[in-house]
């Protein structure tokens, strides 16, 4: 699944570690999600959406 996490993070000038801290996950998790190597669970996807103030479908895109 594609996502806009890297773009949204860059817009806010957050490092991967900063985003990871805000989501209470590891930096490896953020990296894996950004590079499309891992699709987050629905609860984590909702946490990401809440953090950016966007609906899930504005962050995660169908292939």
């Amino acid at each position: 699944m594609k996502n806009r996490l890297r773009v949204l993070r860059a817009e806010r000038e957050w490092s991967q570690q900063e985003l990871a801290d805000r989501l209470e996950v590891s930096r490896q998790s953020v990296n894996a999600i950004e590079t499309g190597k891992y699709d987050p669970s629905l609860p984590l996807a909702f946490r990401i959406a809440d953090l950016f103030g966007l609906p899930i479908e504005a962050i995660f895109l169908r292939d």
Partner: protein, 138 residues
């Protein structure tokens, strides 16, 4: 130094306890049984003490899977364990057939733990290649 991650910290403590019991148990069993200081059920208990300690290692790994809050790292750890288990069992089954056809000698069963540990390394390499992370949680 203990890890910052609470689950990893508990894991390290559990592993340390298990390995201490293993080393102590192994020395005790060797000494007691080699010198015929125990017999019958006590000899069995002494001989099994190192095995219980190794079971403690598996318990520690299982609890790490349960207690890790990071879902990505947890997934990597589960993946790593499945690869390690499949690796160890495959090698043992292959060895068993070779042994039953008289092509290789007998090897002590407890050495499967060494294969499992090697399999954990294989699993970590696989995680790095497929998911970009070794799965370290501290």
């Amino acid at each position: 130094m203990l890890p910052k991650n609470p689950a990893a910290r508990r894991y390290m403590i559990r592993i340390s306890v298990a390995m201490t019991v293993y080393i102590g148990g192994l020395f005790a069993a060797n000494y007691l049984i080699d010198n015929a200081l125990v017999a019958g059920p006590l000899a069995w208990a002494a001989a099994l003490l190192p095995a219980f300690a190794i079971a403690g290692v598996f318990y520690a790994v299982g609890m790490l899977i349960v207690e890790l809050k990071d879902e990505f790292l947890r997934m990597l750890l589960v993946r790593q364990n499945l690869i390690a288990t499949a690796f160890a069992m495959s090698v043992v089954v292959a060895w068993g057939f070779l042994e039953s056809f008289g092509l290789v000698g007998h090897v002590a069963g407890y050495l499967i733990v060494v294969l499992w540990a090697a399999g954990m390394f294989v699993g970590a390499v696989s995680n790095r290649l497929t998911h970009g992370s070794w799965g370290q949680c501290w």
